[in-house]
């Protein structure tokens, strides 16, 4: 497990790695393990498991609402780790936990990383953890527990910071497709394509996955032509909203994307 599992998966996917986000505890707490299993069976390459937060600043209304419901369902981090452990008995797809830094801080960063590692989590995405603070205070802990981290870059990120993200990311570089919060629909624009081109031409050493606004086959295919794969989040949450059968919904959703 750890760093390598994510990169191995991405490289095995031949430029079409599909990373699917869902909010843990949505639609129900019981569905966490079922979703992990279904996503693995249906052919997702990676899972980004959202830790629901009361104030998700980088998220649009879809993920906000799913987080709210998950918290109302009574999910907390302790329960979440129990369900991840349950899912790990029968699955091996790399799980990347995504959450806001305050959640780790209150839990205790080292306690959190230790539990994550012990329960077979491969890495973390923490959008509001600054790179320099990670490097100064937490990098050695991530290494100690063999957990990867993936940093975000956006169209406004300078080349210098992109290189810093490349150096520090031990998972992948999360290429945020546009300056926006999550959940935007619509086609990928020419401006976005030239931004993807610019990143591609930098010859970074880390694999790159494009996320934010990837919602159907067309946007997934376009993203893959400029990267090693893509991340789908809000679109999957929207599909789950009306689901009567989690496994069926997951299989048919993945088929519409990949």
């Amino acid at each position: 497990m750890g760093n390598n599992s994510i990169r191995e998966k991405i490289s095995a996917a031949n430029g079409r790695a599909l990373n699917v986000y869902f909010t843990a505890g949505y639609p129900t707490i019981k569905s966490i393990a079922e979703l992990i299993r279904s996503l693995e069976d249906a052919g997702a390459d990676l899972i980004e498991l959202g830790m629901p937060y009361s104030d998700p600043l980088a998220d649009g209304i879809t993920i906000q609402n799913s987080s709210k419901i998950a918290l109302e369902n009574g999910l907390n981090l302790k329960i979440l780790f129990e369900h991840i452990a349950e899912a790990r008995k029968t699955t091996s797809i790399p799980i990347i936990m995504m959450g806001y830094f305050n959640q780790l801080l209150q839990f205790g960063v080292e306690d959190f990383l230790k539990l994550a590692a012990n329960n077979g989590v491969a890495g973390m995405i923490i959008p509001d953890l600054p790179m320099n603070i990670y490097e100064r205070d937490y990098k050695s802990l991530f290494e100690k527990y063999d957990l990867s981290i993936s940093f975000l870059i956006s169209p406004m990120t300078s080349d210098e910071r992109i290189k810093q993200a490349d150096r520090l990311s031990s998972g992948f570089i999360y290429v945020v497709s546009q300056s926006s919060i999550t959940g935007k629909k619509g086609e990928i624009s020419e401006a976005q394509k030239s931004y993807f081109d610019r990143i591609e031409s930098m010859n970074l050493k880390s694999p790159r996955l494009i996320g934010f606004g990837i919602h159907d086959r067309k946007s997934f295919d376009t993203a893959c032509t400029y990267s090693d794969g893509a991340i789908v989040g809000s679109a999957f949450i929207r599909a789950l909203a009306n689901s009567e059968d989690i496994s069926k919904t997951t299989h048919s959703f993945i088929q519409t994307i990949k």
Partner: protein, 408 residues
């Protein structure tokens, strides 16, 4: 203290370091999508606001448009009652009715120099929203104000004012539909419109450099208190300086020139809501623990799992689960002391100041007046209370409260 450029941490221990940390508090914990904007502000804010041209424009607007200096008034009846010399720093007499405009004037001048075309703001009581809408009208910039749906209702007069001034008021409908939620929405808007938009934060909160920037713009309050007190008392400092604290901008401005003057006791008044232990409170520093809210490390009300707790106060401007990082540092290092006043105590203070001194204060401000009886005052003590705003916006709340109390 004359050379404010030389931030020497051993002498100026209550000023932020280079990364915006006040001791363990502050910093900039923001998603990458905001990094370019925040980094630009960090890089340029000091040089811009110290430019002679900027200072001149800022000072002129404060004088001719806002009506500064605001008076320092010796409240005789309050003084007799509390057995000390109680001076009121009359920020309520500023244009638009509160201290908030000191900051919005500064930030709009900064936004113009950064060539931003679009302005966003959050607001609780609506005073910061009105102050932002006002400077946007003045400068001809587009203005969008996020306001919790609950606050839109309880501060209706300010909503009407913002609209008259040409601003668009956007209701925040998540969470408890108050100031925290309005701030979340404003930050999301900023992420979506990072290139052309400046976010005018209304309190001494948010990622570095906002807490320091807002504090510096508000520091005109303590700058004036210094010479006004000198004229009135022969001493340039009070014994006590008292201010209410939501995010902490009026308190930060009133404290600024006295942060490192140990002769002055700094007193903060938080909103206890229905009572500190009632579960319906906004006494942030008392109930809070260290964590991150709206991009800075500070004290906030949260669960063991790091979920932010919805606060409560009758006063929209204090109904916030965090506190500015400078105040978190002042409190934990025991430089400032905190008292909390309940809704009822604040209402009593509103009634008292209205009847005794002929001044109807904002409900936020009343929390500062409500804790005066907790101070151990003696006759020679000079006390300055920051009268942060006037109560016009709260008339509906006052009337309802009085009717209920009179059993109607």
């Amino acid at each position: 203290m004359s050379n404010t450029n030389a931030v020497n941490t051993t002498i100026y221990k209550y000023h932020p370091d280079q990364d915006g940390f006040y001791g363990p508090f502050g910093g900039a914990y923001i998603p990458e999508m905001l990094h370019a904007n925040v980094a630009e502000l960090q890089e340029v804010y000091l040089s811009i606001i110290q430019e002679p041209g900027f200072k001149q424009e800022f000072d002129e607007l404060l004088r001719d448009y806002v009506g500064r200096p605001s008076p320092l008034y010796l409240a005789k009846k309050l003084s007799a009652k509390y057995n000390a010399n109680i001076y009121l720093k009359r920020e309520d007499l500023n244009h638009t009715g509160a201290h908030k405009i000191n900051n919005t004037i500064g930030q709009i001048l900064l936004a113009k120099r950064l060539k931003k075309k679009r302005i966003i703001a959050e607001t609780g009581a609506g005073q910061h929203g009105v102050a932002t809408a006002t400077v946007c009208a003045l400068m001809g910039l587009e203005c969008f104000v996020y306001m919790g749906a609950v606050d839109i209702e309880r501060q209706a007069p300010n909503v009407a004012r913002m609209k008259m001034l040409g601003a668009t008021v956007i209701p925040a409908v998540s969470g408890s539909k108050t100031l925290k939620d309005a701030t979340n929405e404003a930050i999301r808007d900023w992420i979506n419109n990072a290139e052309n938009t400046h976010y005018i934060i209304g309190s001494a909160i948010g990622p570095h450099p906002y807490p320091d920037m807002v504090t510096r713009f508000q520091s005109v309050i303590s700058e004036e208190i210094k010479w006004q007190l000198q004229q009135k008392t022969g001493k340039d400092h009070p014994d006590y300086l008292v201010a209410c604290v939501g995010g902490g901008s009026n308190a930060a401005g009133a404290f600024y020139h006295y942060l490192h003057d140990d002769r002055v006791q700094l007193i903060l008044a938080e909103a206890a809501g229905l009572g500190i232990d009632s579960g319906e409170s906004a006494a942030t520093s008392i109930l809070g623990t260290e964590g991150i809210i709206h991009g800075c490390m500070t004290l906030l009300m949260q669960t063991d799992d790091g979920q932010i707790v919805e606060p409560y106060s009758l006063s929209a401007g204090l109904d916030y689960p965090g506190i500015g990082p400078m105040h978190a540092h002042l409190i934990t290092s025991k430089r400032a002391k905190v008292h909390a006043a309940t809704d009822d105590e604040a209402m009593q203070a509103v009634i008292e100041l209205s009847k005794e001194e002929g001044i109807i204060p904002a409900l936020e401000t009343a929390h500062a007046l409500a804790i005066l009886d907790r101070l151990d005052l003696s006759k020679e003590d000079n006390v300055v209370v920051c009268l942060s705003g006037r109560g016009d916006k709260d008339l509906n709340t006052f009337i309802t409260y009085l009717e209920e109390r009179n059993g109607k």
